[in-house]
Subunit: 354 residues, 2 copies
């Protein structure tokens, strides 16, 4: 496959790690990265080492891997941490301040095969609205997100026709879950002529606690029965810490509104109702509180009932399980886009026709 | 994806089950099936129920699922079993005897999107030579096999240029192993920036013993250190039964020349040397002697060493694990073919760009 150029919108934890992991992948060249403060663009490829080193500590709240420092200060809605003079990505010599970083990316869109939207902790219509801007700006190519919410898929589906007209292949939910784990479920389903149950059970241990994982923790709290995405967004940091304390740092989730169900149905693997998603988040330990496991139960052509399983080693962090799959699905999206397949795709739909 | 028409070459166990399982899959229409005796072709779709019912007992030796009957008689090199007057597929009302069934398929090739070569127990250059015939006959489309031998991949690779000129997308090794299990390995590798070891360990219990599984057992014996594919082919049935008896019906295999290694290297997952394949075959029990497991060890971007695992339930037969993946990879091959991607592909290369 030919060289692929990509841009990262958002240089928080996911954006930074995507840039880092892409250096281990063949045929992927990051050519742009932006956050709300500015934009770094180089059609020949960004100097990822410089960008990451220069902006360390100046990052969004989403699942930081580089640990907090005493100098880090939370500010504004997104909780950007900052040290040094320049905000966010602008601390890199490759970046320039911008009033409208997204427009900068759109303006260079003809040189960008794929845009990774690494913006998971904004309001749930944020990514659909960003997609609208790319449509309006005339972008043609791949857009890919790592979201988890079923309703965002619906909002993107509403835009299918616009994506098709514009030549956009939108891949949604391509991170660890739903991306990695629905891909595993689609694979595991191949023993069966009918899938009766898919159980996705994840464990996450956040090494550095709430302080460095505000976005993820807040988003997960929105999955608790007594909260939703709006009420969770309105919680103060103190309220979130109180919720964590009330659960002794370990929060269990059942029957989450996780996009896994609709994505597996879209891919023809099973009915959405047959998918259950739950997990355990431990905010105070770097050990996973439970082993992430995908169990796919079904019946074989010869009438047996069986359960295939896929397990991620506890030593693989959530962070490690987001970026490899996201970049793999990004490549698959570019392949589809180049073949003229436009619209909205879930990760399991990009598996080999299973 | 649009409707896909396909043909099955070989109506032994794998061919028959592929026809059966395809009825559970969307958008797949079997339009042709042949064995050495004749050809059934219907551009509107074969009546699979009639074909399977009419030919039951008249099948090749390869892993039968329908059990042997006292009336079944082995004949000739391939050990065709037969009852009734007509040989093989010709027992179906849809089939006609043919001097050259492969040519029949080629002659109808413009209506056939994909050809599944369900011919695993012939000499190892048989499938490459069949591919040559399709090239010479002007076929353009997908060809797919379920072979296991590394050296066959090399022989197909020698034909890459001819496939590309002719518009053929050849998918090799798309059955349970290497197909299903290398796909699982490619998926499981996504936690890692470097894969250090892939261990594929399979268990097969052959419900109906040697009598109904001549092809598979003979092929597996060729993997024992004291045999190769030529010497195994020359064994008499009595010699094979003696080997089985000497192992008390349970034969263990280590470091097999299984195409998994070269297929994973082709897909960029790891070096072929880092892949080991072994398994246990129990010819006398329908219980699997060990659980089929794919273990992928690697290092994450954040420096952890870990092992992800994929396990097939013991209740899933080898038969169940061949046909679902084969049809999934067939669909992926057609998608590639329609996008103008020709040449030789392994199953893991059809995963989402991982």
């Amino acid at each position: 496959m030919d060289e692929i150029t990509f841009a990262v919108l958002g240089t928080g934890g996911i954006g930074r790690r995507t840039l880092e992991v892409s250096q281990h992948k063949d045929a992927l060249t990051p050519v742009a990265a932006c956050d709300r403060h500015g934009t770094a663009i180089d059609a020949d490829g960004l100097d990822v080492d410089e960008l990451l080193a220069a902006t360390e500590g100046n990052i969004d709240s989403e699942v930081a891997t580089d640990g907090g420092t005493g100098a880090a200060a939370a500010e504004g809605e997104g909780g950007i941490k900052q040290h040094g003079e320049d905000r966010g990505v602008v601390a890199s010599a490759q970046a320039r301040p911008s009033e409208d970083p997204i427009q900068d990316i759109i303006d260079h869109g003809d040189r960008i095969d794929a845009v990774l939207l690494a913006l998971p902790n904004y309001e749930h219509d944020f990514i659909p609205r960003v997609a609208d801007r790319f449509v309006e700006g005339g972008y043609s190519g791949v857009m890919i997100d790592v979201l988890k919410r079923s309703r965002v898929i619906d909002m993107l589906d509403d835009r299918s026709e616009a994506f098709e007209e514009q030549g956009i292949t939108f891949v949604c939910g391509a991170g660890a879950t739903p991306g990695f784990l629905t891909g595993a479920a689609a694979l595991a389903a191949q023993s069966f002529v009918e899938v009766t149950d898919v159980d996705i059970h994840w464990g996450v241990g956040l090494k550095s606690g709430y302080e460095d994982n505000r976005g993820t923790v807040r988003e997960d709290i929105a999955h608790l029965p007594e909260y939703d995405i709006e009420t969770a967004r309105d919680l103060t940091d103190e309220e979130i810490e109180a919720i964590i304390d009330a659960h002794d740092g370990v929060i269990e989730f059942e029957d989450m509104e996780h996009a896994d169900d609709v994505l597996l149905e879209r891919a023809g693997i099973c009915d959405a109702d047959d998918v259950s998603v739950g997990g355990v988040l431990d905010v105070e330990s770097d050990e996973k509180p439970t082993t992430t496991t995908v169990s796919v139960m079904g019946t074989t052509f010869d009438g047996e009932t069986a359960t295939n399983t896929f397990q991620l080693d506890d030593a693989t962090s959530m962070e490690a399980n987001v970026n490899g799959p996201a970049l793999g699905y990004l490549k698959a999206g570019v392949r589809r886009n180049r073949a003229g397949e436009y619209g909205v795709f879930g990760p399991a739909e990009l598996m080999p026709g299973f």
